[in-house]
């Protein structure tokens, strides 16, 4: 969902204000809330994606007005009620009714989960574009990268897909990739900045060659060596083949990780 939690790139929240010698918890209730919510997660058997989504379903005004551990508490209350472990009347007795969160409904994705895809669709050096999706349910594809083009820098392995897992609509295991974006692509600035983010395969689509990225020709071949060779012959006078070579050298820092099972609750 395109909720208030998806804050990357927003303005207006002011300066970051670090606290000197900050304690782990600022009040006893934060201690108890942290532990209790951990206990509730075990108790309800919710997975981490459901928990995150329960936080995202806090109505925006309430989300902004709540501290971190308050949001945890609101999410735990939501999940306890939805799982039928505590009923709303019991919760209302605990506090002023207006303090208890009425969460936004969870809207499951329409796509049906597929079988685990064990073969990685992309490899280090591939140009990819983040799909411009706007699911009503949970997603870990932040708005600020959607529609943007980046370069795969590593293949992380196979992980449970949050968009379906948060709705108990299947694990839909698939590859996760480390993708790099330039500040120019994301923010229209030329600064020496890059954004590195891990994205699930379903968030990404291949950028075919001959599309333009950041005003430059994309020089990464899209299909196989053979086509690349043909194209290179045709384009040789432009020096493209050299550029290809240096690029693939740079992307040789491929961080390949063993496929691992994602943490399960």
């Amino acid at each position: 969902m395109d909720g208030i939690h998806d804050m990357g790139g927003m303005d207006g929240f002011g300066r970051v204000q670090p606290e000197v010698n900050e304690p782990t918890f600022h009040a006893d209730w934060e201690r108890r809330a942290f532990a209790l919510v951990n206990g509730v997660l075990t108790l309800t058997g919710v997975n981490i994606d459901e928990f995150r989504h329960a936080i995202e379903r806090i109505p925006p005004a309430r989300y902004l007005a709540s501290s971190y551990y308050e949001r945890w508490l609101l999410a735990a209350e939501t999940l306890l009620v939805e799982r039928g472990i505590v009923n709303r009347e019991e919760l209302n007795r605990l506090a002023q009714p207006e303090q208890v969160s009425i969460a936004l409904p969870a809207i499951p994705p329409k796509v049906l989960p597929a079988k685990a895809r064990l073969r990685a669709k992309f490899k280090a050096g591939d140009r990819v574009k983040v799909r411009s999706i706007h699911p009503l349910g949970h997603t870990r594809s932040p708005r600020y990268v959607r529609g943007k083009t980046g370069v795969v820098r590593g293949v992380r392995g196979i992980y449970v897909f949050p968009d379906t897992n948060a709705h108990r609509a299947g694990e839909n295991r698939q590859h996760v990739y480390l993708v790099e974006f330039s500040a120019r692509e994301l923010w229209g600035r030329n600064d020496r900045e890059r954004l590195m983010i891990d994205l699930w395969e379903d968030y990404l689509e291949r950028v075919e060659r001959s599309t333009t990225v950041n005003g430059k020709r994309n020089s990464v071949p899209a299909h196989g060596k053979l086509r690349e060779k043909k194209a290179r012959t045709a384009l040789a006078p432009t020096g493209r083949s050299n550029r290809n070579r240096s690029r693939s050298k740079n992307s040789g820092t491929s961080e390949t990780y063993k496929p691992e099972k994602r943490r399960q609750q």
């Binding site: 939690h5 804050m7 990357g8 790139g9 927003m10 303005d11 929240f13 002011g14 300066r15 970051v16 670090p18 606290e19 782990t24 600022h26 009040a27 006893d28 209730w29 201690r31 108890r32 942290f34 532990a35 209790l36 951990n38 206990g39 509730v40 108790l43 995150r52 936080i55 902004l64 709540s66 501290s67 971190y68 308050e70 508490l73 735990a76 209350e77 472990i85 505590v86 019991e90 605990l94 303090q99 870990r140 932040p142 600020y144 992380r156 996760v176 994301l186 020496r192 900045e193 890059r194 954004l195 590195m196 983010i197 891990d198 994205l199 699930w200 990780y257 691992e260 994602r262 943490r263």
Partner: protein, 201 residues
């Protein structure tokens, strides 16, 4: 904002009542909750990460293993746990400065850094770390040369990141324990540099 609200009508009362309700139902065990608090208040914290960094500075082979597989390298020091199963170490160099954020919530590498500070969870940091990292760093008193590239890591999937800061000059004779003392939590998130003793940042 009610970041530290302790009024009886606020979250303090609700947590207390909710805990009571769940204990009455026999669903949670208060002793277990105490143990969770104790773990994160006194056992897990940035000293763990500092040990990892100091070892990497002192032992080139360990540094290499850490950058290749941070989970396995941390396990060598007995460091593991929730939110650390997919830990990745990223190295600062004279040309590259790394900064870690989670824009969608506040994902953080608990086993090496403990629980995140309030500023890391703040809307200001979550929103601007990706779009204005130089400005954010300036707010932490870190001024980077123009030719230093900033890499911002948005830990929105399962990977969790720890920054391996640059070892400051003038620490060549220090042992691992002394080095660990120099390493701040903020330097492992990427919002501070590590300085040698006697030097201000």
């Amino acid at each position: 904002m009610s970041e530290h609200d302790t009024s009886e009508r606020g979250p303090a009362a609700r947590v207390k009542a909710l805990e009571q309700l769940l204990v009455e139902k026999g669903l949670v065990d208060p002793a277990r909750l105490d143990a969770i608090v104790d773990t994160y208040e006194s056992k897990v914290g940035p000293r763990n990460g500092a040990r990892v960094v100091a070892r990497a500075w002192a032992d080139a082979a360990f540094r290499k293993r850490l950058l290749a597989d941070a989970v396995a390298a941390c396990a060598e020091l007995g460091i593991a746990g929730p939110e650390g199963g997919h830990l990745v170490a990223i190295e600062n160099t004279p040309r590259i400065h790394n900064l870690v954020v989670c824009t969608l919530c506040s994902c953080y590498p608990w086993p090496v850094l403990g629980l995140p500070p309030v500023w890391y969870k703040s809307f200001a940091y979550r929103s601007r770390a990706v779009s204005d990292p130089r400005g954010v760093l300036r707010e932490f008193g870190v001024e980077l040369a123009d030719d230093v590239e900033i890499r911002v890591w948005d830990s929105s999937a399962e990977q969790r990141y720890i920054v391996l800061p640059e070892r400051p000059v003038g620490t060549e004779k220090m042992n691992e324990e002394q080095l660990a003392e120099l390493v701040s939590r903020d330097s492992m998130i990427g919002v501070a540099k590590v300085t040698a003793p006697g030097k201000s940042r």
